[in-house]
Amino acid sequence: MGDNILNNIVLFYPEITLVVTLCALVFSDLLMKGKGQFTGWLLLGGFCLTGIFLLLQNGYSESVFDDMFAVDSFGIYFKVILILSGIFIVLFTMRSRELERNMQRIGEYYMLIAGMMLGMFLMVGSTNVLLMYLAFEMTSISSYVLTGYIKGSLKSAEASMKYIIFGAVSSGIMLYGLSLLCGVTGATDIYAINASLVEGVGQPMVLSTAVLMIIVGLGFKIAVVPFHFWAPDVYEGAPLVITAFLAVASKIAAFAMLIRLFSVSFLVHVADTQSTGLLNVIEGLNWNIVLSGMSALAMIVGNLAALWQTNIKRLLAYSSIAHAGYILMGIVVLTEEARSAMMMYIFIYLFMNLGAFYIAMLFSNKLNSESIEDYKGLGFRAPFESVAMTVFMIALAGLPPTAGFIAKLYIFGAAMNAGWLWLVFIAGVTAVISLFYYIRIVRNMFLYNPEGESGQLYFDVFSKVIVLLLLIPTLFLGVYFGPLIKLARTSINIFGM
C-alpha cells in the first residue's frame, strides 16, 4: 500500500508542484508584504514548472491513488491548456490597472488563482464522482472569491454574491444527482458506475433524474442555456482578468470533466464504438438529445443576446455562451472524431478568447471604459492593438485564415458526419449572426473617427509581446494546423476506454 502511494506520487508531480507553489505563495506573501510583483513571478515560475512536469508525463495512461485519479493523454492535454491559460492570466494580471489599485492584497489573489488551478487539475483527472465533486467545489469557491476581489466595488461584490448563490444551488443539485447515481449503482468510481449501469440496475426514472441533475451542475459551470443567467452579470462585475479566466479556464475544466464522465459512465463500450456504436446505457433517457437542445439554445441565445450588448465584457460573456454551445455539439456526438474536434476547438478557443479579453483589458486600462462605443477611432489611436483585436474577432466569428475557422470546421464536420444535420445548420446560421456583433467592434475601431480625445495610445513592449504570443498561434494555426490535428487525435485516449 505504502509503495503503491509512493509510486503513484511520481504521476502526481504537477499537482504537487501546484500545492508547493501555493504554500510558497502564502509564505512569500507573509514575509514580503506589499511586494506584489514578486509573488506574481513566483506563481508564474510555479506554473511553468508544473507545465514541464506535465510534458514529462507524456505517454502515461495510468490510474493512481486507488482509482481516484487518472493520468492519461486526455487529461494531460487539458491540463496543458489550463496551465497555459494560467500563465497568460498571471501575465495579464501584471498589466492590469484595475488590479494594481488593490496591490496590497495581491498575494491572496495569486493564491486563489493557484488554488483554482489545482481544483481544475483535479476536475480534469478525477475518475471518482466524490473527487469530482470536491474538485468542482474547490474551483468554484476560489472563483467566487476572485470575482469579488475588488474591494469597494459594488458591481464586483454583487457579481460575487450572484455567483455564489447560483453556484451553490447548482452544485447542490449536481451533488444530489451524483448521490442518486451512487445510490442506485452502489459505486462512486465512474468505471464501476458504468459496469453497474451496463448490467442493468433498473430504476430508469431515478437514473434519468440523476443525469439531468448532473447536467444542470456542469451546465452551470460551462454556462450554457438555460443555466447561463449568471454569466453576463458575473462577467461584467468581475475584474476583467478574472472574467477571462472564468470564460476560458473554468469552462475548459468543466468540459473536460463532462467529457470524461459521460464517455466513461454513460456509454456502452463495445468493441466497435466508431461512429454508430455509441449506445446509451440508460433506458428512456437520450441524454444526447437533451444536450443537443442545450447546445442549440446556447448558440441561438448567446449569439442573439450578444447583438444588443454595448459593454465589451457582457458581449464576450454572451459570445462565450455561444462558443460553449459550439463545443457542446461535440459532446452531443461524442465519437472519437468529435472528441478530437472539441479538443482542437478548446485549444484554439484559449488563444482567441484570451486575446480578445486581453486587448479589451489594455483598452480599458487607457480609456477607463468597457463600452464598445468608446472604441470609436481606436484603429487610428492604437493601430497594432486594434489590428490584433480584429484578428481575434474574426477568429471568434470563424473566418479563415484564422484558427477560429479550423475550430468550427472540425466541430461542424464531426457533428455532420454523425448525422446531426439540424444542429450543424443552426450552428451555421448562428455563426452568421455572430459575425454581426464581432464586426461591430471592428467597425467602431476603424470606421469611425475618434470622438473627444484623439491622441495616440502607447502600450509598453511587454504588453505588445503578450499580444503577439496570443496573436501568432491564432493566425498560424489557421494556415498550418496539421500538428494540432495530430496532437488532438493522439490525445483522445481516456484511461480505461
Partner: protein
C-alpha cells in the same frame, strides 16, 4: 506545362506577389505616399506581366476541368496530411494550383483590372498605406480563388477577400459606407457558411484510394471530388439525383448567386457600388462578381452534374429575371453609379442564362461575357469616377453637354456604353450573341423573353448618353478639364480590348473552347 521563376511556380508568384507588395507597403513610412503608390503599381504591373507570360505559354488544346493531367502550370504540394487512425482515414489538404481554359481568362482579367484599379486609386489621400495594403491583400484573394484546385484552398482565398473589401468600402467609401460595407459582408458570409457546410459534406463523402499505399484518403481536392467513383458508399452525398445532392447544390448556388449577384440575392450590390470608392467599384464589378459565376463552373457544375441538369431551368429563369429586372431598375435610376450597378445585375444575368443552357455555345458565351463584362463595367465605373472626381456629383440630371466640354472623355465613355449596349463590332455583342444562341437552343421561350432585355438596355444607355453628354452643359461645369494622362493610361488598355475583342474574338474564344466543351460533355454524361 510548367513554368518556374527562381524555382517557384508562376502561379504561386502571381498569387503571392501582392502579399510581398503589401509587406513592402507596410514597411514604407506613412509620409512617403508616392512611394507607396508606385510600389502598388509596380507589384500589380509585375502581376500583369506574369499574366502575359501565362497567356503566351498557355496551351489551348488542353482540356482541364476534371483531368489533373491536362491542367497547366500545376503546382501540387502537401499542405496538411494527417495519417490514418483506426477511427478515421487519412486526411489530406493540398496546396494545388493550376489553370485551364476556364480560369485563364479570369487570371488575365484579375491582373488587368487590379493594375487599372491602382492607377485609378492614385488620388486617394486618406490613409494611403492602409488603402494599398488592403488593396493588395484583396488582389491576392481574388487571384487565389481563380487558380485553386483544392476546395479548402479555394475557400480560404474566397474568405480572404471579405475583410479587405469590408474595410475598403467601410473606410474609404461614401456617406452610407458603413451600412453598405456590413451588408456586403453579411450577405457574402451567409453564402460562405453555406459553402463551408457543403465543403464538409463533400469532404466526408469523397475518398479516393491512394495508388501507392492503398489507403482510403479523404481529400479536399476538387478533381477527386468530380470523380463519381470516389463517392463513399452510404455517405450523405452518395448516389445520383438524391435529395441531399440537390440541397448541397442549392446551398452552393445561393453562395455563388450572392456573389454574381443574381436576383433575388442582388440587393447588396447597388449599395456597395454606390458607396465604394471608384477603384473598388471597378474591382467589385470587374472581378468580384465573376467569382460567383466561376465558382458555379468550377465547383457546382462538375461536382454535381446531376443536380445541375435538374436545376438548369431554374437557373435560366433566374437569369432571365435578372436580365429584365436589372435593366428596368437601371432605367429608373438617377444616380449614375447605381445605374451601372443595376446594369451589372442585368449583364451578369446573361452570363447565368448562357451557362445554364449547358451547351458549348451558351457556356462559351457566358464565360466570354464574364470577361467582357469585367472590362466594360470597369470602363463605366471609371467614367463615373472621372466625373465624380471633378464635380463630386454623379446624378444623371446634374450634367449635360459633356461632349463639348470634355471630348476625349466623351469618346471613351461612349465606346464603353455602346459596348455595354451590345453594339456589333464591340466585345459585348459577341458574348451576348453566343449566350443567347446557346440559351435559345436549350430554353426557347426564356431566351426570347430575355432578349427583350437588350432593348431596355439600349433604352437606358441611350437615355444616359443623352442626359450626360448631349444637350446644353450647366454653367458651372463649362470649364471641366478633359482626361488627364493618368486617366488616359487607365482607360487605354480597356478600350483597346473592347474594340479588339469585338472585331476579332476568335483567339480569345479558342482559349476556353476546349475546356468549356469538355465541361459540357462532363455534365451531359454525368447528368443523365
Amino acid at each position: 506545362m510548367e513554368l518556374q521563376l527562381l524555382g517557384i511556380g508562376i502561379l504561386t508568384w502571381i498569387v503571392f506577389i501582392p502579399i510581398v507588395g503589401m509587406i513592402i507597403v507596410l514597411l514604407i513610412p506613412d509620409s512617403r505616399q508616392d512611394a507607396i503608390r508606385w510600389t502598388a503599381l509596380a507589384v500589380t504591373g509585375m502581376q500583369l506581366m506574369l499574366a502575359g507570360l501565362i497567356l503566351r505559354n498557355f496551351d489551348r488544346s488542353m482540356l482541364g476541368i476534371n483531368e489533373s493531367g491536362s491542367f497547366q502550370f500545376v503546382e501540387h504540394f502537401n499542405w496538411i496530411t494527417v495519417d490514418a487512425l483506426p477511427w478515421i482515414g487519412k486526411v489530406e489538404i493540398t496546396y494545388f494550383l493550376g489553370i485551364d481554359g476556364l480560369s485563364v481568362l479570369m487570371v488575365i482579367l484579375t491582373a488587368l483590372i487590379s493594375f487599372v484599379g491602382v492607377i485609378s486609386s492614385w488620388k486617394i489621400g486618406k490613409m494611403v498605406k492602409g488603402y494599398f495594403a488592403l488593396y493588395l491583400l484583396l488582389v491576392t484573394g481574388m487571384m487565389g480563388v481563380f487558380v485553386s484546385l483544392d476546395f479548402f484552398l479555394f475557400f480560404i482565398f474566397w474568405e480572404i477577400i471579405l475583410l479587405p473589401m469590408y474595410f475598403l468600402i467601410g473606410i474609404w467609401g461614401g456617406p452610407r459606407r458603413e451600412y453598405a460595407a456590413i451588408k456586403f459582408f453579411l450577405y457574402t458570409f451567409i453564402g460562405s457558411i453555406l459553402m463551408m457546410l457543403v465543403m464538409i459534406a463533400l469532404y466526408f463523402s469523397i475518398a479516393y484510394t491512394d495508388p501507392v499505399t492503398g489507403e482510403l484518403v479523404h481529400t479536399f481536392n476538387l478533381l477527386h471530388m468530380m470523380n463519381p467513383d470516389n463517392l463513399v458508399e452510404g455517405s450523405i452525398l452518395a448516389g445520383i439525383n438524391t435529395t441531399w445532392r440537390y440541397i448541397a447544390w442549392i446551398a452552393l448556388f445561393v453562395n455563388f448567386a450572392i456573389k454574381i449577384p443574381l436576383f433575388p440575392f442582388h440587393t447588396w450590390l447597388p449599395d456597395a457600388h454606390v458607396e465604394a470608392p471608384t477603384a473598388i467599384s471597378v474591382i467589385l464589378a470587374g472581378v468580384l462578381l465573376k467569382l460567383g459565376a466561376y465558382g458555379l463552373l468550377r465547383i457546382s457544375f462538375p461536382i454535381f452534374p446531376d443536380a445541375t441538369v435538374y436545376f438548369a431551368y431554374m437557373m435560366a429563369v433566374l437569369g432571365m429575371i435578372s436580365i429584365i429586372y436589372g435593366a428596368f431598375c437601371a432605367m429608373a435610376q438617377t444616380d449614375f453609379k447605381k445605374l451601372i450597378a443595376y446594369s451589372s445585375v442585368s449583364h451578369m444575368g446573361i452570363v447565368v442564362l448562357g451557362i445554364a443552357s449547358l451547351t458549348t455555345q451558351g457556356m462559351v458565351g457566358g464565360v466570354f461575357q464574364m470577361f467582357n463584362h469585367g472590362i466594360i463595367t470597369a470602363v463605366l465605373f471609371l467614367v463615373v469616377g472621372v466625373l465624380y472626381d471633378r464635380t463630386h456629383k454623379r446624378g444623371l440630371t446634374d450634367f449635360g453637354g459633356m461632349a463639348t466640354v470634355m471630348p476625349r472623355y466623351t469618346g471613351v465613355a461612349i465606346i464603353g456604353m455602346f459596348a455595354a449596349l451590345g453594339l456589333p463590332g464591340l466585345n459585348g455583342f459577341v458574348s451576348e450573341l453566343f449566350s443567347f444562341l446557346g440559351a435559345f437552343s436549350a430554353f426557347r421561350w426564356i431566351a426570347i423573353i430575355s432578349v427583350t432585355g437588350i432593348i431596355i438596355t439600349a433604352a437606358y444607355i441611350l437615355w444616359t448618353v443623352q442626359r450626360v453628354f448631349l444637350g446644353k452643359s450647366p454653367e458651372q461645369y463649362k470649364n471641366l478639364p478633359d482626361l488627364s494622362a493618368r486617366e488616359m493610361v487607365s482607360f487605354a488598355p480597356l478600350i483597346m480590348l473592347i474594340i479588339m475583342l469585338g472585331i476579332y474574338p476568335g483567339p480569345t474564344i479558342k482559349l476556353m473552347n476546349a475546356s468549356v466543351s469538355h465541361l459540357v460533355d462532363l455534365i451531359n454524361i454525368g447528368g443523365f
